[in-house]
Symmetry: C3
Subunit: 163 residues, 3 copies
């Protein structure tokens, strides 16, 4: 057995909610700061993150997440309230406000940083076909690829993670 040090980070981003979009971008930019390479493969709803002007519009679902801290401490919001049309906005506003107070970069800023850091941002061809998304709908500086593109990248000395 030999020792191996991973030199790349290979991430699959498959969800398009605000909370799910942060980890891939935070980890990829952190990896580059540590002198690793990084690539993110955006597939299914994850492609929402790459749509032009969309990164800062992603939302937090207030439903189906019993672990979501409640807007008022000690006051539990039952699911039925989470269903009211305004609650997605409340949950999303809350997370954006938390992020701002903790001086965490906005998603659009992390995305720009990722492009500057030469993180490979790969849009899933099959998802684009399935959902009718065109290359011009997506931000500049990305490439288009498939499962094989991801697997080839991930097969060489990589930490691979799916979100």
């Amino acid at each position: 057995m030999s020792e191996t040090t991973a030199t790349r980070l290979a991430i699959i981003a498959g969800h398009g909610t605000l909370d799910a979009a942060y980890p891939p971008l935070i980890l990829a930019t952190a990896a580059v700061s540590m002198d690793m390479e990084a690539a993110i493969f955006f597939t299914f709803y994850g492609l929402e993150i790459l749509k032009k002007g969309n990164a800062d519009k992603l939302k937090v679902p207030p439903l189906a997440n019993p672990a979501m801290p409640q807007p008022l401490p000690g006051f539990s919001v039952p699911n039925v309230v989470g269903v009211l049309p305004g609650m997605t906005a409340v949950a999303t506003g809350m997370m954006n406000s938390w992020m701002g107070k903790a001086k965490v970069a906005k998603l659009s800023e992390l995305l720009e940083m990722a492009v500057e850091f030469d993180v490979r941002l790969i849009a899933c061809q099959m998802t684009m076909d399935v959902m009718g998304i065109k290359k011009e709908d997506l931000i500049d500086g990305i490439e288009i690829g498939g499962a094989a593109t991801f697997l080839e990248y991930a097969s060489q000395n990589a930490i691979a993670l799916a979100f």
Copy 2:
């Protein structure tokens, strides 16, 4: 430090929704096409994918997924509408229709392909015990195993991913 090329793909499939079931099967069959080995460990709700006759009945949740494209472009469906009993069917029908138009194989077809390609399909013993699922409830050609089965497989030159 030595260079290492992964020769296997080790996947955990833990969700039983239609959108969550595709990535493990697409990646595993792609890996075999690239001369890699592949195994999928089906656990928790992921076992739904292996239930006899169930693969093409999996559904897309319309709720709690603000990134889900809306049925009518430009017309946003608030959560409260997603709750109406018919909306799971609408979201599921939409995704099936997209997949069909893009000539993506049905889940049952991908599952058959995985069996033909000798992808190891491993059903989680503990989940079967917990949920009262019997081997005869599951499709043919699978094996039953535990966390150790997965970890042993994943520890040898593998790309490991959890969905």
Copy 3:
């Protein structure tokens, strides 16, 4: 190309629901039983698992999970029923009852076992800042770290998985 055997398991736990909390703890304790090292990085809602006295209070979302087995076999609960305030309790009670019948350890027991087994439990600094969580809010025996802590650990002969 050389053969490599992973000697560690590096997990990201990013969700705080009961069903999402089990896999990281089951896999980490299984890994130690197999003479591997293990670390779990708790981030975003995953931090709920580490909050003092909280592990056995985590809930199962009944919504947005069409694969969730229904309380009454053959009787399908539409989403609209899942929204009723009591349904989270029903789904959570069901899963706890299943787990008990199958003699699966409670989450708090798995967490204690992980501490005894020297699994590194790492709370995400950024999430603590963002959500205003203090070290004294979390169980004893953990450490605090960031994305770099996780990536360093995961880069050395590890199976890496994100949940």
